[in-house]
Symmetry: C2
Subunit: 194 residues, 2 copies
C-alpha cells in the first residue's frame, strides 16, 4: 500500500490525493500539519531531507517528493499523460511553469492570508502583481482552448487548478478571469474533485 | 533544424545548449540578451507568451519553453533519462526541486551580483540562507553518491550543475562543499561541458 504524507489545506498535497483517488490506488493518507513543524521532525527529515510535503512512500518503502514528480509517477501510462511527444513536452512545460511562475505567488499569497493571518495591505504588492500575471497568461490560453494542452485534460490542468481554484482566498479577484472560472469547473469534473 | 533562443550567461539556457551539443542535434543558437528586453518584444512574446528564454523552436515551428521541459524533450529515450520508473521519478523530483528551491536563490543571487551590479551587502540575507540550504542538501547527498540519481549521470545532474558551477559568482563560498566540487568535475566530464 502507498502512504502519502500531506496537509489537506495545501494545493500541492491535494494534487497527490486527487491523483491517488481518481486512479483508485490503495493508499493511506497521513495528515501532516505544515504550520506546526510536522514536516521538520527528525523522523520526517529522514524520509525527505527537503522537509516538505507532499511525500509519497512507495509499497517498498522508497520515498518520492515534489508534488509534480509524484503525480507524474502516479499518472504515467494513464489517460492524463499524453503519449504524443510534443503534447507531453508541453505538459511538462506547464508543470515547471506552475512551480516557478504561479505557485510562488498565487499559493504563497493565499497561505499568508489564510494561515499566516496577514491582512490585504500586509501582502507584498509584487506577489499580487506576479500572481495576476500568471492568471492573465492562463486566461489568455483558456480563452481559446478547453484544456492547457491539446484537446483533453492532462496533469497540467490538475497541477494548475490546485491553487487557481482557491486563488480568491488570497484576494485575487477571479471575476477578471471568466475563461479560468469555466475551466476550473471542467477540470474539477474531469478529475472528480469535490 | 532546431532553433534555440538563449542568453549564454544563463544556466537555464546553457542546459539546453549542452543537451543539444552532446546529443549532436542540428540546431541554430540565437543569442537573446535578457537584460535588454529581447525576450519581451512582441515578436518574441508571440513565440513564448511567458517572455522567457530558453525557448526551443522545433523543426515544424512549434515552440517549447522551460529549460527542464526542453532538456527532457531532447533527452527522452537517451542515456541521461533512466528507464527504471523510480529512478525516473527521482530525476523528476530533482528537476522540480532545482526550479523551486535552488534556482530562485543560487541563480538569482548570482544574477544580482554579476549582471545586476549589486555588491555583497546589497543581497537579501534570506536569499543567501536559502541558497546555502540548497547547496547543503546537495552536499549531503553527494557525500555518499557520485550522482544525484542511481549510479549514472542523468538530467538531474545536468540541471543542478548549471547554476551550482557558477554559484561562487554569487558569493557562495564553495570550499564549504567539497563533495559538490568533485561532483561538478564529474558532471562537466559526463556532459562534455567546457
Amino acid at each position: 500500500m502507498l502512504t502519502a504524507f500531506g496537509d489537506s489545506r495545501s494545493g500541492n498535497c491535494l494534487k497527490v490525493k486527487w491523483m491517488l483517488d481518481i486512479t483508485r490506488r490503495d493508499y493511506q493518507w497521513i495528515e501532516t500539519d505544515v504550520t506546526t513543524g510536522s514536516s521538520r521532525t527528525p523522523e520526517f527529515l529522514a524520509k525527505n531531507p527537503a522537509g516538505q510535503v507532499p511525500l509519497l512512500i512507495l509499497d517498498d518503502g522508497r520515498p518520492l517528493a515534489q508534488s509534480n514528480a509524484i503525480i507524474l509517477w502516479i499518472g504515467e501510462g494513464g489517460r492524463f499523460v499524453p503519449t504524443d511527444a510534443y503534447d507531453r513536452a508541453r505538459m511538462m512545460e506547464w508543470l515547471f511553469w506552475e512551480q516557478y511562475s504561479h505557485e510562488p505567488y498565487v499559493a504563497v499569497v493565499r497561505f499568508q492570508r489564510t494561515l499566516g493571518g496577514k491582512s490585504e495591505h500586509e501582502i507584498e504588492p509584487r506577489l499580487m502583481e506576479r500572481g495576476h500575471a500568471a492568471l492573465a497568461r492562463m486566461e489568455m490560453v483558456l480563452s481559446g482552448a478547453d484544456w492547457l494542452v491539446g484537446t483533453a485534460p492532462t496533469l497540467a490542468d490538475l497541477a494548475l487548478v490546485a491553487y487557481t481554484r482557491v486563488a480568491h482566498e488570497g484576494g485575487f479577484a477571479m471575476n477578471r478571469y471568466p475563461a479560468i472560472q469555466a475551466w476550473i469547473l471542467r477540470v474539477e469534473a474531469a478529475f472528480a474533485i469535490g
